[in-house]
Subunit: 295 residues, 2 copies
């Protein structure tokens, strides 16, 4: 069921979408029903690839996760969300030895983390009542990879957005974004992990990172058949969408995404296959994974 | 440096290996140096595949991990190892909500586990001073998959072992085990998850599961170039190797393995490619992952 507020929101989006040049007939396949937050799992993106896929090289698209890896939330501080005060753990991941080689002759750790750290998935359930990580069909974890390069603009503006013009420029060069793709933003931000530039804090102490423009998201949803997005920063949204529009719109439509991906410079703009090794933990809203590209 | 005890152990192994029929010249490439527990990381298994690999189907080789998933250790009990008493957590994985859709409009969990639960990797570091999960080259996570079926014997004997004859029978049918392979034991045990048969406790309360015979391990190490092993049970060892011989021998030689793999019936004996989506957590001795087969 849609609340009046959500219906109004969808109407506004349809109106805005129709105003976007170039969507044409595809834009007219208006969002039917009530998407944001709706319980409509496994919409069928995941039909298995019909064509043969080939590769001869593996590229690691994950960073190594450790306690000092930068995160959207500040480790060790208290956050207030909708009136609730929550203490963020002092380390974003804790690897605590239970048994050690000396004297146990076995190593085994207890691992603890908040889910959205390191190179990780945002499942639909992170910003909706949709699928958790264990409910995503395995076929959907192996997808054609599209890499959109906005490094030049991001180098000048830490709040640069991947916008609809970037997608069109990509398509002018490479043809339409393939069905079932994962569309990745390469802003060059993976190189800044470990330096203050990763968070690029402004004068108010708010972090600045490149992100997706909501119009680009609408385009991918309405005019193309895209399963996932990926960013080399720690969020799909930045200060240009302070209400987390991209998260609510994309994840609320049973799609998912990846944050903090690495090494996008090492894969071609088109033609690679992304493999998302997402541990299937029951009820997970996302979490650290091993993402690779097969080239 | 090798301790005299370890040198003695290696000598015994060489002697025993030479007694194994059929190893021939390969067996004579004796284990030089001091392997078990030695610090000799990244021995170079991981040269990238030179040939083109193709696939058109993805098979999920992971189980979904949840608090009741069966584990080698008993959740909630106290264990004593080398005189040290340790309390096993009451759940093998804990997924504790930090934020919830109602009222937070965001879902985010804190996840805690002991590393060796669910479908997971044993990195060399689990039973040696070797590589942790983050030190394994990404190329080594994508390997030719060899599936050895011992279901008929395992159905009659829960302590059945994958032995050297099983490997020879596989090779008689399919040719030599390919270089850089992952050799998986299909005992049919994945079907028993959720039933008491998974642990098949004996009269003394000790669990019984199929596993690898140490001779098969020696064969794979000395006569073939194998990177990883996999089992559909929760251990490479069973009551036939109570000193964890397979773990110490295999992991101590900078090789690694997978436990609790799923769905091996859905992949061919030869020709599939295994992809191990192992989260790269610094210092990890193993841990839950998403393992798939590309067929």
């Amino acid at each position: 069921m849609c609340s009046p507020a959500i219906i109004e929101q969808v109407k506004k989006r349809i109106s805005r979408r129709n105003a976007l040049a170039g969507l044409g007939a595809a834009g007219a396949t208006a969002a039917s029903g009530c998407l944001p937050g709706a319980k409509a799992k496994n919409k069928g993106w995941g039909s298995k690839p019909e064509e043969q896929v080939s590769f001869s090289r593996v590229v690691d698209l994950s960073h190594t996760l450790h306690p000092e890896f930068p995160a959207w939330f500040e480790a060790g501080v208290e956050v207030t969300t909708r009136g609730k005060r929550t203490f963020v753990p002092p380390a974003i991941v804790e690897v605590k030895p239970v048994f050690e080689w000396e004297p146990d002759k076995v190593n085994l750790n207890q691992v603890t983390y908040w889910e959205h750290v390191g190179t990780h998935m945002d499942a639909p359930a992170h910003f909706s009542e949709g699928s958790t990580v264990d409910e995503i069909p395995v076929e959907d974890l192996v997808l054609p990879l599209v890499v959109v390069d906005i490094k030049a603009r991001a180098a000048k503006d830490p709040l640069a957005l991947l916008n609809i013009e970037d997608l069109r420029a990509w398509e002018d060069e490479h043809g339409p974004i393939p069905d079932r793709a994962c569309v990745a933003m390469n802003s060059g931000w993976d190189k800044h992990v470990g330096s203050p530039r990763y968070k690029s804090l402004d004068e108010e102490g708010k972090h600045r990172q490149p992100a997706f423009h909501i119009d680009a998201i609408e385009y991918l949803m309405e005019a193309r058949k895209v399963v996932a997005i990926a960013v080399d920063t720690f969020s799909f949204d930045n200060q240009h969408s302070p209400g987390s529009d991209v998260h609510y719109r994309w994840l609320g439509d049973e799609r998912w995404g990846l944050e903090n991906v690495n090494n996008l410079d090492e894969v071609p703009a088109k033609g690679a296959t992304i493999v998302v090794g997402q541990p299937s933990i029951k009820g997970g809203s996302g979490g650290p994974n091993r993402t690779m590209a097969l080239v």
